[in-house]
Amino acid sequence: MARRNESECRMLSVSSILGYGFPEASLKAGLERAPHYIGVDGGSTDPGPYYLGSGECLNSRKAMKRDLRLMLMAGVPRKIPVVIGTVGGAGAEPHLQEVAAIAREIAREEKLSFRMALIHADQEPARVRTWLQEGRITPLRNVPELTEPIVSRAAKIVGMMGAEPFMKALDGGADVVLAARASDAASWAACAMRMGMPPAPSWYAGKMLECGTATATPKGHDSLLGTVRPEHVEVEPMNPARRCTPMSVATHGLHENASPTIHEEPGGLLDATDCRFDAVSDRAVQVSGMRWRTRPYDIKLEGAECVGYRAITICGTRDPVLISQIDSYLQSVRDDVAMRSSNMGVSPEKYQLVFHVYGKDGVMGASEPIKNFTSHELGIVVEVVAPDAEDARSVLAIARVVIPKIDFPGRMCKSGNMAFPFSPSDISVGPTYKFSLFHVVRIDDPYAMFPIEYEQVH
């Protein structure tokens, strides 16, 4: 059991995200190092707004259950707390409840008994509106200002918790902590600080541990041991096929951060400008010189709103005459779809029609610097998004009829302009979302937004 005032805190991160998997042998090797905590990050905004908006989990139930079973069977009998943040991918209430249900199932199946803390992160729109009126909310870089209609339209709003709620849950006697949306590094920082380690190496260890063996070479979804001491952090992969080098660890500072050196966290700023990376063996690296500067407590708010329902079709052309005039051709498709859709009562302001043209600029869109492309074939994803699901399907069906049939100057392929790989060719994707909140709220209490519930699981 972890105690305060030990000389170091050892933490085992099993993988990069719950459900991404890891070799059992790596977990076993990690247990031999007698970790004080076992954990894993549970999610990210990286896979897009759908998961937060819809409440669906990023990874399959089977994959999450496999990982969580191994973690609980390793931690619970040994009295090593198991701590997971941003469970289920986006860390909203449906994700938390799904992963909690999996934990209860595993307890039943494996006859494990433990005290579980659930830390919630959903935020009531009325509360967010009050913060907005009080002038407590500011946008993050390159994010638009928040308005009341944006708050009202959000399908879901979560706050991103810092280290304090994790420390409180552990102090409350939790053997297993499942937290909704949390800063990726917060669960680890909490565990180390709870054992008396200073904030700078504790948060730095969190930045390393949240991504499993992304700090190692070769990278992969595997287990990493992080050891925090008052002056430094040591990291070492548990799989003998991987190693950490000063370069592989330094490189991780670049990962998914706007700055390689300045990391903004709730209640402070982790500054890695003067970090030193020293090999302590051919597999382990020690990092020192990080600094922590406290600052007023800000919590990030993330929200997603539904922007409509999406329907798509996929097709391609091999016709050189068409390819040579693709822009004007697609404009004529757009105009014809608008006319025909209006005839059935769906005017163009009721839908968005997007052509993703692979072979031209499908990957970079308007940012594509190459304007004179030379592809012999083009692949097109035709996308329609509309507030009404039936409108989206209906307009897409019209586009699927227009795009192969419409005439263009010099047309020789009179039987059809496009090859469709599938029947049926129309695909209903369902509701689609966008990130609408990515702001910070200035608060005084690190706990108030994140209520903790305890339960005894048998």
Binding site: T45, D46, P47, G48, P49, Y50, L140, R141, N142, V143, M247, A250, T251, G253, L254, H255, E256, N257, A258, S259, P260, T261, C275, F277, V307, G308, R310, Q352, V354, H356, G362, V363, M364, G365, A366, S367, P369, E383, V385, T432, Y433, K434, F435, F438
Partner: protein
């Protein structure tokens, strides 16, 4: 005159949150890194020009600890919104590959 793709070991892009993309250029030799930095070719203005964004919205940071140069730019469309082409932002690095570095 060499192109960046001939000098760098890694050139990659990825989301830094849903409203920004961050692009990393990494080198395997200190002398190559120093040469590229000293050429002065890579800077916030270059990222602004290549990606058609306002230079005041670009965050450019040389990171000698990893022999890396990092540019973070705003997205024209946030990750996953209608019209986005790259939810993870993982294929936005190519314009840097052909940037020429004087000898």
């Amino acid at each position: 005159m060499a192109k960046l793709k001939d000098l760098a070991k890694v050139c990659k892009s990825k989301n830094a949150g849903p409203f920004e993309v961050t692009i990393d250029v990494m080198f395997d030799k200190r002398e190559t890194y120093d040469k590229v930095v000293e050429s002065g070719v890579i800077n916030a203005e270059l990222f602004a020009r290549l990606y058609n964004v306002n230079v005041k919205d670009v965050l450019y940071t040389p990171y000698p600890a990893a022999l890396a140069l990092k540019g973070t730019i705003p997205r024209h469309v946030s990750a996953g919104d209608v019209g986005d082409t790259d939810v993870y932002g993982a294929q936005q690095h190519a314009p840097l590959l052909d940037v020429e570095i004087p000898d």
